[in-house]
Each structure stands twice: as C-alpha cells, then as structure tokens.
Amino acid sequence: MSKTRSTPHLGLVPRLLLGISLLVVSGLASADYALNFQKPVTAIGHKLLELHNLIIIICVVIFVIVFGVMFYSIFAHRKSRGVKPAKFHGSATLEVVWTIIPFLILVAMAVPSTATLLEMDDVSKSELTVKVTGYQWKWKYDYPDQDVSFFSNLATPRAQIENKEKKGEHYLLEVDNPIVLPVGKKVRFVVTANDVLHAWWVPALGVKKDAIPGFVNEMWAKIEEPGIYRGQCAELCGKDHGYMPIVVQAVSPEEFDKWVSVQKDQAAKAAADSSKTLSKDELIERGKKVFATTCAACHGPNGEGVGPFPKMAGSKVANGPLPAHINIVVKGKPGTAMAAFGAQLNDLDLAAVITYERNGFGNKAGDVVHAKRIPG
C-alpha cells in the first residue's frame, strides 16, 4: 500500500475489520437467508408484521441518529486532531428535550400495539373450537364439537436425526397427523398441557400461547389461504423439546367437512379393532409400532434407554410381575416423565405394547396381554 493521504492511519485491525465486513455483506448477498417473519396468513399475522416493521424502523432511525452523532464525534473530536476539550457538563434544556421526545415516540408506538393486543384478545364469535394439549413430546388435538381427537407425532425418521440418512426438505417440521383447519373461519384454540409447560406456536398464523397443565389459555386465528403452515413447541419441555413440531393443514370448509367424516369413520373402525383378540405375533407386531411412536423417545428405538431414562432390555418391570407392568404403563409413574398412557392409547395398543415389551428386546417374561386385561 502506497503512503498516500487517501488511507490515513489504517492499521492492521481496521483493515481486518473492513475485510470481514465485506465478506459478511457478500455472504448475505449470495445466499437465500430468511431475515424477517414468515409470510403471515391471518389478519392478525399481517398486523403483527406491520407493527414489527414499524418498531424496527423507529429503532433503526434512533440508532442511526444517536450513533451518527457519536461517530461524528469520534471522528472530529479526537486529541490527535489537536482539539481542545470543551468544559460544559450539562444542559437542563437538552436533558428535558431528550426525556420528552423519547416519551412521545413511546406513546406513538403504544397506540397501535394496544389496538392489536385488544383484537388478539377477543376470542368471541368463533366458528370452530380446537383443544390443543401438549404432551412430552407430541401434541394432541381435540375437536369437541366434531367429536374428533388424535395425537400428532414427529414424522422425521430417527435415521435422519442421527445423520445416517439424508435430511428431507421438512426435516423436524413434519408430523404423522397434521391439525386440519378450515380457511375463512374464526378458529378458537384452547391450549393446555398434560405434563409440563409447552407452547403452541405457528409463526404464519401469528399465534403463540403457553400450554400449562391445569390451566386453559385461549387464542384465535382466521386463516386466509389454504396451505401447510409449520411451527414448533416454543417452551422448554425436556429432552425432546426440539422434536415436537406443529403442522397446520388449512383447507376449504368443504374439504374440512369431508376430513371430519373420514376421521369419524376411522375412529369407529379403531374402536371396533380394539375389542378384537389378536394372536401373540399380531400383538407384538402392533406393539412394535406403538413403541416406536410413543415409547422410543425415552426408552430408545431399540429399548436401550436414553440418558436418564431406563432401558427396556432386561428391564426389571418388563421381566417382573405383569400387574406392576400394566400399572406403570397405564397409570404412569408420578413425579417422573413416565406419563399415564391409559389416557393416550386405546386398550388394544396398550396390550400390544406391553406384550411387545415383555417379549422383545431379549426379554423373557413371555406373557401375552389381551386388551381385556387392561383396567378401566
């Protein structure tokens, strides 16, 4: 670098800084980065985005003014330029001005915020109610008026999470049974939890509420266009907090009605199934599937146990007396993450999974449990 006046005192550090910022800018320009909210699909979502953009602009303007002044001062008022320091150490007028102006800006921000909050708070005149319940680590959706109810589990294969398989496009944001909602209708969500805190959040819908065991929270959304909208649990809920996504499938009201009737048929078929008596092999086969969706998160896909959670292979419970085994699966173990699965699975699935646990993983208990042995 020649010693011209165009680059005064540019030391190694500022040069490094310049290099890195150029790199950052070019990096930003070349990749497809998401920098702001996902595209909203509800009226509230649009308002939140507008509000967010408004306050971000106000903040950026304040930032530029304050640091514009500061960096001008850093440039102009430096000892190396031979300036003499001024002596002033206060100005009542200035200090009053910069107390009042920020206050007025805050009032200007509070007005649209209050209006949006009031609108979000109004859950009246809803046309459909869905109860959302958080479980470790899945969601349950109940449509009380349609008499439909199901669990929604992560659908991403374990092999993708463990890097044994290429990750799919919707890695960690895909479920077996999405929540289906009609577009153009005001849907009221009542949110609660079964075990610990969770939070139901779908960014595109502009909704997030904590799911709290023993309490019911409400919120609403009116989706404008059909589509698939994805979200995640937002409140730390233990080991698999990162693995309980939400997938909303918004459809036309006609398709929604059709979906409801299909769900009802399936429920009736499942109820008929659960009174059937299966053979040992059929039970084990069925139990294996139940274990994979319901138990594997803690007890391991191959029954090896995960972290502090007990192994299935050689387990004292699975090789011990049958009534105790049924009891812990159906009623859970209070004070631990072992939930009462009697409330989550039908009798046939419970019987199947217990049979599988007593015969699989090299366990030698050997018993066959039929649905009618399940209490209650």
């Binding site: 998401a34 008022h77 430096r78 320091p85 200090e95 921000m109 009031l118 960690l172 990162g242 004070g335």
Partner: protein
C-alpha cells in the same frame, strides 16, 4: 509509614484464606470470576458445536439442555456478579477515600462461600440423572419432574451464591454510607460507586425472593408441598411471577455497575467532565425502581389478563426513557472532547454501542403483541446477550483494562489490549447478530437440532463463538504479563483520569487512606 505494622500478614495460601484486605479480596473475586467465565465459555462452545449443523452430532439432547442451563447459571452467578463484586472491592474504598470495606471479616466470608457454591453446581453435572436440564429459569413442573439430585444441588448452590451476594451488598452499602472521605457528599461520589450503591439495594431486595422461589421448588420436589402443581391446587405460573420478580432486577444488577464504569472511562478519555452527573444518578435510580414493576414482560404468553399485559407493556416501555438519557449523556460527554482511544475507551464505546442495540431490541420485546412472535426464540437469545455482554462484560473488560495498571503497577501491552477488544467485538457480533434473524424467521431457543433453513446463520454463530472465546486467551496473556512486569505505571496512569484512586501510587500500598483524604 506510621502504620507499617499493619503490613504484616500471613504469606502463601494463608494470606488468601484469611485475608480481610479489600485489595486481596478484590483480586480473589476477579480470579474466581475469570475461571468461571472460562468454564461457562467452554459450555457455550459445546452448545455452539452441536448447533454447527442440523442433526445430533456431539451430545444428546438431555446433555445439551444441561449445558444451556449450567452455562447461564455459571455466567450470571459465577462470572458477572462476582467480577463486579471484585471490582467494587478493589475500587470503592480507593474511590471514596476509605481505608477498607466497612465489614472486612464478612468480606472474607462472602468470597469464600463462592468456590464451594460453584463446586456444588459443577458436581450436579456428575450426579445420576445429570445436572439441571430445565433451563436457568428452573420452571416447574419440568424442574420438579427431573429425577436425581442435580436440581437439588443447583438449588443449594443458588442459595449459597445468593447469601454471598447479599453479604457483599450489605458491605457495599455500609461502606458507601459510612466510609466516604470528609467532604465527599453523596452527590460528589464517583458514578461507579453510585452504580454499585443502587445495585446493592436491588440485590438485597430481589435475591431473597429468588431464594423463596427455589426453596418452594425444593419442597415441591421432596416434601409434597405442591406449590406449583395444579393437580393439587398449586399454580405453575406462580413460580414464574416470583422468579421474574427477582429475574428482571437481576438484569440491572448485572448492568448498573457497568454503567458506572462507562461513566468513569468516557470522561477520562474525552478529557471532559461527565455530562449531566445528577441526571445520571436519577436515571440510574429510576431504572432501578422500574425494574421492580416490569417482571411479567418475561411471560406475556402465559395467558395473563389483558389489563396485566397492558400494564407490563407500558411500564416496560418506560424504561427506555432513563436508559435513553444515559446513552445521550455518554454521547454528549464525548461531544467536543479531546478523545483518545486506548483499550478502556474502546471497551466503553463498544459497550455503549452493543448495549444500545440490545436496548432497542428490548424495546421491541416490550411490545406485547409483537413479543408473541419473538418470545422464546433466538431473537431473545440475541437480545439478552447484547444487553449482558454489551452492558456487563464490555464494562468489565473496560474496568479491568482501566484499573489494571493501578493494581499491578505496570502498563500492559496496549497492542494486545486492542487486539483483545477488536477480536471480541467482531466475534461477539458474528455470534449474536445473526441470531436476531434466526429468531424472527422462527427458530425456537433451547433446541439441540433445527430445520434446514437455519443452517447458514447457525454456522456464522458457531464461528463467532469460537473466535470470541479464543480472544479471551489474549486477555489472560496480557493481564498476566502486566502482573509480572512491564513499563512502570505512574500514579496518574491516564492523562485525563480524575478521582482519589489516582492519588495513591501504582501499585497502591497494602493499606491506603489510613488517614482520610480531604475532598473539596
């Protein structure tokens, strides 16, 4: 010196175990804090390494959650709080012309609780069931559910850390009220002492509340009290209210002493008095007051009544006013000064810059409806690291580089000081600025694995984190160098520095101001 016999004290390990000298205790606190910063920093590298790419690579999710939890507890209770107590110990007596802290024996005790508390916290990681994995906020029911003694160890450790901080605070209040040199009225007191004086009240008012909350958690875990169990008439949200009644003032506990540092360093290197000293004091006091009536903005999504959400939104927005006043006053202090940019000044300006970004994102978070989108995402992670690293940690490095020549009697290597600043500044921004975007685009916090659209920014973040932690080795090196040798420091050290600490030699004798100085 007439009081030469006071200089006789045990040497070796007994000097440090039995010392009641504010300078020795200050050093102990600072060494302890730096050690904990390294421990917490390594944990952050475990977190960032796992987040380098989607999928599970290095740790399992349960251990990942332990890392996020213990990283936060170590950094807050083990690093930042003890580091500022160390600064208070070294500097408040020197700045107000006192011979020592008001309660020197208690001072020894309040330090020596810390290593045991930290050991207890670290041991929790090796217990069956692992360390606390439910987040540093320790929310029930998750933290009641977790089996093994890890959470119990953490609760007892928090009790000990809390006792230590309360004792330290009592000592600071007693020192400031009783030990100021003749002529030094409260409104002539250096801003660093003011910042700490107000912080000490915040600590005394908020830490017992935390102690209550975690004790209720402990009895829920073991003695069947069900304070937070809805099935038995308890309320899980009650814990959050009580926790954040402590937790919000805690943020100001971490930053107000650093504000005092900025108000000390900026006038020195602008060679011009602090702009609006009195408003600075009143602004600090207003922030402290407001910090007690805004706690529920950490929990807008729990389903509070509308009136509650509006109140907490308006109250939180108000904090921007006194905070703004402080920033404007710092800029006005620089205005038409004659500035030089030695290492401490870089930290002060950098700290104000970073903290202001965090303050503005805080203003965004105060807006309840918008917060429904930001809450529990990486936007919040970015926000509080901007506030706490910009506010507290930059203030801390500013303070140490400002007073290090006074403490050791040697100037440190200015080039290394600048390298440390710039690498930290770049590394920090590379780590945390992209996290704003991650949060806005929908990445929740506290997850060990993420969907594919978040890869690039997470990789920036991981690179930045390694750079930031590596840069701290430079600090360690130049601080050690300055302790051992280096150009002799004058008692004035910095051309524009004012205050009683610059009237004593560098390094100061073991006992200073045995005869109180006169302040005009």
């Amino acid at each position: 010196m007439a009081t030469a016999h006071h200089d006789e004290h045990p040497s070796g390990i007994m000097r440090w175990l039995t010392t009641t000298n504010h300078k020795d205790i200050g050093t102990l606190y600072l060494v302890f804090a730096f050690t904990m910063a390294i421990v917490g920093g390594i944990m952050s590298l475990v977190i960032r390494s796992e987040l380098w790419q989607p999928g599970l690579q290095i740790v399992d999710p349960h251990f990942f959650n332990q890392m996020t939890t213990v990283h936060a507890l170590v950094m807050i209770f083990g690093f930042v709080m003890p580091a500022f107590t160390g600064l208070a110990n070294w500097q408040i007596p020197l700045m107000i012309g006192a011979p020592d802290m008001a309660l020197p024996r208690m001072n020894n005790w309040s330090f020596w609780i810390l290593p045991f508390a930290a050991t207890l916290l670290m041991l929790s990681l090796f217990m069956p069931g692992g360390g606390p994995a439910g987040g540093w906020t320790l929310y029930p029911p998750l933290n009641v559910q977790q089996s093994g003694p890890g959470v119990d160890f953490t609760i007892l450790s928090i009790h000990m850390l809390g006792i230590s901080s309360i004792l330290g605070s009592i000592n600071i209040i007693a020192t400031v009220l009783n030990m100021r040199a003749p002529g030094m009225t409260l409104m002539k007191m250096p801003m660093f002492a003011w910042g700490w004086f107000i912080t000490a009240f915040l600590l005394i008012a908020s830490l017992p509340v935390l102690a209550g909350a975690v004790t209720m958690l402990l009895t829920d875990r073991h003695f069947g009290t069900h304070f937070f169990d809805a099935a038995y008439g308890g309320d899980p949200v009650l814990f959050q209210h009580v926790f954040w009644f402590f937790g919000h003032p805690e943020v100001y506990i971490l930053v107000l002493p650093a504000f005092g540092v900025f108000s000390t360093i900026i006038p020195t290197f602008a060679r011009k008095p602090l702009f609006g000293y009195e408003t600075m004091v009143y602004a600090t006091a207003s922030i402290a007051f407001l910090s007690f009536i805004v706690w529920a903005h950490h929990m807008y999504t729990v389903g509070m009544p509308l009136q509650g959400e509006l109140f907490f939104m308006y109250a939180t927005m108000l904090i921007a006013v006194p905070t703004g006043v402080k920033v404007f006053n710092w800029v006005s202090t620089m205005w038409r000064g004659a500035m030089t940019f030695e290492t401490p000044m870089l930290w002060a300006i950098g700290g104000v810059f970073i903290f202001t970004i965090g303050g503005l994102s805080g203003l965004m978070l105060s807006i309840t409806p918008a917060d429904f989108q930001y809450h529990d995402t990486y936007f919040v992670v970015a926000h509080f690291h901007y506030v706490i690293i910009g506010g507290s940690v930059f203030g801390l490095f500013g303070a140490v580089s400002y007073w290090l020549p006074k403490w050791t009697g040697h100037m440190y290597n200015e080039t290394l000081g600048k390298w440390h600043f710039w690498l930290t500044m770049i590394g920090f921004n590379l780590t945390f600025f992209p996290q704003h975007f991650l949060g806005l685009a929908g990445m929740p916090r506290r997850i060990p694995d993420y969907s594919l659209q978040f890869v690039e920014f997470n990789q920036w973040s991981t690179i930045g984190a390694f750079m930031t932690i590596a840069a701290q080795l430079i600090f360690f090196y130049y601080a050690m160098q300055s302790i051992r040798a280096g150009q002799k420091a004058t008692s004035q050290v910095w051309e524009g520095a004012e205050g009683l600490e610059w009237t004593v030699p560098s390094p100061p004798p073991y006992h200073t101001f045995a005869t109180p100085p006169k302040v005009k």
